[in-house]
């Protein structure tokens, strides 16, 4: 890429060849208004807001599509340009129901902003629009077509980012509208509720059900943290107001997912129904009753020193907590381990970063169901496939990725995947705990050239591994210490729990918590500070967006306090 020089509004601007006028202007802090353009999406050129005048070029140019060239002279706010922008806005306001007063986006709407900027003070054109039905068939967000400006951002987001291709346009001309699949209600469509479309919509057409009317941009606080719902560890932008959790957005240009989230990260945690443990509890006269931290920790410290003990942790907490946990049990000579299984290394290849999936030429998936458990990886695989990557799924059962894979092979046929990879450029193997030994053997010839992405079933599994916590079963000890965090135990674990004295550190009530002798509360994802390590080994920071309830303490801190008490 070479440097080019142009002037915008008389100001000399340096840009890279290949950049558009819009990009060049942005770098030089010159604001050109846009509606259909979004930096995370392919250029579209439809809204005509970004029209500019270029000396020597016939007519007006859309700056979002017109390449900047050496010596170009651009004017972004001439009388003509301003008149056309105002015209476009007037048309948009005439097309559908843009009575801002009653729109949840009022104040944050890109269309409204531009209307103010270009001085729309009345309806210029008649508004012959038909009312369309609001589609609230999806749980987490609503589509109100009456506010849609047909910018197609949502469609491009669904296709380009989520690679899900649910959205499209129906009809043409004035009857054009965004639809899911072949015009079915959103809730019955192939939508996976990743919410990417919601995040890019510039108007009040796509509305988050939880945060609607919850506060405008100027009222809210944004906190950037890491998603703890699976081992991918996407960056989150958590939106809160007055200590109320409003919404979660993805963070553009962040690692590993570049802004893409899934339903588990974006929506589900906001609909948590379990009952929170809000302070320490101790069992007195057969009943769990509230206690102070000192009392509770005192009992725990004493118990840990009074007999044999074992600590079992779900990995879904911070690196700091897991380290403190391991340290505590080392101190009391107890066994400490993790509850979830661990994915074993393959013994060949180099460690892949999540982003390696996107530019792979061949992707081999085996022993894992990313579309179910590490969804963003699944979407990335779809995206790579859209760009021409060959996807080979090796499985003896069903796998959601098969539908769009170039081939689905049985374990016995795993060699065919290696044949496909031979001579191809970049090969990425995506695997999980269910990988079969014969498949490992068959894939071995891929050698160290191949990129390997292990999909740990546990959130922050890498943090647990780094802390030295290996999978363990509950054993016959006097004291069992469970670090559950936000993850309630599964039935299998519950069945294995014996009559030992039970200490449970958990955020939510569960059968195990209710059986416990001492319960210590923990924060939840949105209240945490510290770090997690994601599946490609990146240490990712956690920043609390909400305060912990008054009587809750961070696990790492509580565990350290215990270690101190034990001396």
């Amino acid at each position: 890429m070479s440097e080019i020089h142009l002037t915008i509004n008389g100001k000399p601007v340096v840009a890279q060849s290949g950049q558009t006028i819009l990009e060049a202007a942005k770098q030089a802090d010159i604001d050109i208004p846009v509606l259909c353009h979004h930096p995370a999406l392919a250029n579209w050129g439809a809204c005509r807001m970004c029209l500019v005048e270029v000396k020597g070029m016939r007519g007006l140019q859309t700056s979002c599509t017109c390449p900047a060239t050496e010596g170009m002279e651009v004017e972004t706010e001439t009388e003509k340009v301003v008149a056309v922008r105002k015209f476009v806005l007037e048309l948009l306001f005439s097309e559908r129901n843009h009575y801002c007063m009653y729109c949840q986006m009022s104040g944050d709407c890109e269309l409204q902003d531009l209307a103010y900027r270009y001085g729309l003070d009345h309806w210029t054109y008649p508004r012959p629009f038909e009312k369309m039905e609001v589609d609230a068939s999806r749980k987490y967000f609503i589509m109100d077509p009456n506010r849609c400006i047909l910018c197609s951002r949502c469609i491009r987001a669904c296709s380009e980012i989520a690679a899900n291709h649910t959205l499209g346009l129906r009809d043409r001309g004035a009857r054009t509208m965004v639809v899911a699949d072949l015009d079915v209600p959103f809730g019955e469509s192939t939508c996976v509720e990743c919410g990417t479309c919601l995040q890019v919509c510039p108007t009040g057409a796509l509305i988050d059900a939880k945060s609607a009317y919850g506060g405008r941009e100027k009222d809210v606080i944004h906190t950037q943290t890491t998603c703890m719902q699976c081992s991918v560890g996407c960056d989150l932008d958590v939106v809160t107001r007055y200590q109320r959790l409003l919404r979660v957005d993805g963070v553009w240009e962040s690692e590993p997912s570049g802004g893409l989230l899934c339903v588990d990260g974006r929506f589900k945690p906001l609909y948590e129904k379990r009952q929170r443990v809000t302070g320490p509890l101790v069992r007195k006269d057969g009943k769990l009753v509230a206690a102070g931290w000192n009392e509770a920790l005192g009992i725990v410290a004493e118990k840990l020193q009074s007999g044999s003990c074992q600590g079992l942790a779900y990995c879904a907490t911070t690196d700091e907590a897991l380290t403190a946990f391991a340290r505590l049990f080392a101190k009391v000579d107890g066994a400490a381990g993790r509850i979830e299984p661990q994915v074993a290394p393959l013994g060949f290849g180099q460690v892949a970063k999540v982003q390696d999936v996107l530019d792979a030429d061949v992707i081999i998936v085996t022993g894992a169901q990313p579309l179910e458990y590490q969804r963003v990886i699944g979407y990335f695989i779809h995206r790579a496939a859209d760009q021409g990557a060959q996807v080979a799924v090796i499985t003896d059962d069903e796998n959601g990725l098969s539908a769009r894979a170039a081939m689905t092979l049985t374990s016995a046929e795993a060699g065919k995947a290696v044949e496909t990879a031979a001579g191809a450029g970049k090969v990425v193997v995506v695997y999980g705990t269910e990988i079969k030994p014969e498949v490992i053997a068959a894939l071995k010839p891929l050698g160290d050239e191949a990129y390997i992405l292990a999909l740990d079933p546990a959130r922050n599994a890498q943090g647990a591994t780094a802390a030295g916590l290996q999978p363990q079963e509950p054993s016959d000890v006097d004291v069992l210490y469970f670090l559950l965090g936000e993850q309630s135990e599964d039935a299998a674990l519950l069945a294995k729990v014996n009559g030992a004295f039970k200490i449970v550190q958990a955020a939510y009530h569960s059968p195990l918590v209710d059986q416990a002798d001492v319960v210590l509360p923990t924060p939840i994802w949105v209240e945490r500070t510290g770090h997690v390590t994601n599946l490609d080994g990146s240490a990712k920071p956690l920043h609390a967006a909400l305060l912990m309830p008054e009587n809750v303490r961070d696990e790492a801190e509580a565990l350290a306090a215990l270690a101190d008490m034990i001396g």
């Binding site: 948009l92 012959p128 001309g173």
Partner: protein
């Protein structure tokens, strides 16, 4: 025993044209001759042509009569079924050219076109016979090109001929081809734009159905010149018959070794595929066409890159109109100088026009570039219908300029028309008499554009709606000067700000209509329609504008 069957077309169109009466007449006559038991009469649901309805088919001979009146029906029974003599003069004309196009040269009073280059074979050869085509100089140009000429020479000849695209914009064809050869990419495509969805235009159809091999040959020559091995014909979905003809022609040409691998043992291979559109006007726009060919929604692409650099499957692609391609074989055969001897200096060659509207003879005519509108109307159109006064013409299709009597004597070619703010476009010539209302005309056109806008960009999608709204108010007598001002403003801005040619050109009839007939618009704003065409207050209730939601 049943000896014959008489099938009568019974589709709605035939019924309105008296198919029922024809049946009655035939049955009565059969009864009269005592043939009831030998001849079975039945209605056919739908027949494959609409120009000769009601159609009567007599089997086993398979003779087709049409259009048949009840008297004809009786006569057919007498002559054919009773006496066994085929009634020649009632036979439906051969299916070669269906629609009004078939009749133009033969119609009473019509004058043969002066110069036929692209239409020289249409209507005179059997389009389903490659032998017939070859007999009429067919595939000679291709043979000449690949045996005697280099691809560069072919390209150079086309360039020197001055051939300009006949799809609307008049872009120099040789230059377009040259752009493709300048790319590094070796996978290249030739696409024939046969979408022809301009209302009232059917010039491409005549070539497609009357002389399909000419297009194949033109495409093969283009392929040879630019180094492409694959060609696609994107054909308007409604042209089912053209589609069949083309498929058949491709098949024949492949059998003759004139298409396919290693044509005439030259090492040059060229394959042609047919892709039917699904009825969107915008898919005639070349980038929307390419999207549609790739199986996507037909909406225009961002340009640059242009198709010559990144077209079908992102490979360099020549997109040429049917008529453009049909010009190529004669150019190669007779040379650039010969071509330049026809037409005007700036725009050599001929142009095929579709004559529509208030003239005595409507249909197709091919004349050299430079013919005036007056000549077209008077010589080929047989003058104005009912000796009415000529009021205006719209040239170039639905988005063409409306031109006043003052321009009747402009020698029409791409350049001259552009100089007068008009365009040749697809070559449609809509002639209107004094009975026409300009506002009504603009309204009808805008209705088409509102429906056909692809919906991608705001000025076109919403602008057409709003222009139609204003026109509707004017024609209903509810319009005021405000509507007129609005109309003018939207037309101006939409033409400047739209994404593609559709939206940029849709306001042209309004802009030019206002330029030449402003008074008439102003009369409407006062509640008068000088031509007495518009409903003007005959409907109650506020026009167009709905109540506040």
């Amino acid at each position: 025993m049943i000896r014959s069957h008489v099938l009568i077309s019974g589709d709605p169109q035939s019924l309105t044209r008296g198919a029922e009466e024809v049946r009655l007449a035939i049955e009565t006559e059969l009864h009269y001759y005592g043939l009831d038991d030998e001849v079975q009469v039945a209605f056919l649901g739908h027949v494959d042509r609409t120009d000769v309805l009601p159609l009567v088919i007599v089997y086993p001979e398979g003779v087709r009569y049409g259009p048949v009146t009840p008297e004809d029906g009786a006569y057919i029974v007498q002559e054919h079924l009773y006496k066994g003599r085929i009634v020649e003069h009632l036979q439906a004309p051969p299916e070669v050219l269906s629609g009004p196009i078939a009749h133009l040269p033969g119609r009473e009073g019509a004058v043969y076109a002066q110069k036929r280059v692209v239409l020289r074979r249409a209507g005179t050869i059997d389009p389903d016979s490659i032998e017939d085509y070859i007999e009429h100089d067919g595939y000679f140009a291709l043979g000449k090109a690949i045996t005697e000429m280099t691809p560069e020479q072919v390209l150079e000849t086309v360039r020197a001929s001055g051939l300009q695209g006949r799809g609307g914009a008049g872009f120099p064809t040789g230059l377009k081809w040259l752009f493709v050869t300048k790319t590094d990419e070796k996978e290249r495509y030739i696409v024939c734009n046969a979408d022809e969805s301009e209302p009232g235009t059917f010039k491409d159809r005549l070539i497609l159905e009357g002389d399909p091999h000419a297009i194949l040959e033109g495409m093969a020559l283009a392929g040879y010149a630019v180094g492409a091995q694959e060609g696609y014909i994107y054909i308007r979905g409604e042209y089912a018959q053209s589609c069949e003809r083309l498929e058949r022609a491709i098949h024949q040409a492949e059998e003759f070794g004139l298409l396919g691998d290693n044509i005439m043992d030259s090492g040059f291979s060229f394959h042609i595929h047919v892709h039917a559109g699904a009825g969107a006007y915008v898919c005639g726009e070349e980038t929307a066409l390419l999207e549609s060919m790739e199986g996507k929604r037909g909406i225009p692409r961002i340009r640059p890159p242009y198709p010559t650099v990144s077209g079908f499957r992102n490979k360099p692609t020549v997109v040429n109109n049917v008529e453009t391609l049909a010009n190529v074989p004669p150019i190669i055969l007779n040379g650039a100088d010969w071509y330049r001897s026809i037409g005007t200096k700036e725009c050599p060659g001929t142009k095929v026009y579709t004559i529509l509207g208030d003239v005595n003879i409507t249909g197709l005519v091919e004349t050299p570039m430079g013919t005036t509108l007056r000549e077209i109307i008077e010589i080929y159109g047989g003058g104005m219908k009912g000796n009415k006064q000529f009021k205006c013409a719209q040239t170039g299709g639905a988005s063409g300029s409306i031109i006043p009597p003052a321009l009747l004597d402009v020698p029409m070619d791409f350049r001259n028309m552009a100089q007068h703010g008009a365009a040749l476009g697809s070559g449609a010539l809509l002639i209107s008499s004094e009975d026409t209302c300009i506002v009504d005309l603009a309204y009808v056109l805008l209705r088409f554009f509102k429906f056909e806008s692809c919906g991608k960009c705001v000025p076109c999608r919403v602008g057409t709606t709003q222009m139609l709204e204003a026109l509707d108010r004017l024609r209903r007598g509810y319009g005021t000067q405000v509507d007129l001002d609005r109309l003018e403003e939207i037309a101006e801005y939409a033409s400047q700000a739209s994404f593609c040619g559709l939206g940029q050109a849709a306001p042209v009839p309004i802009i030019t209509g206002l330029r030449y007939f402003r008074k008439e618009f102003e009369a409407h704003a006062r509640g008068e329609c000088p031509a007495g065409v518009c409903p003007m207050g005959k409907h109650v209730g506020p026009a167009g504008e709905q109540a506040h939601p």
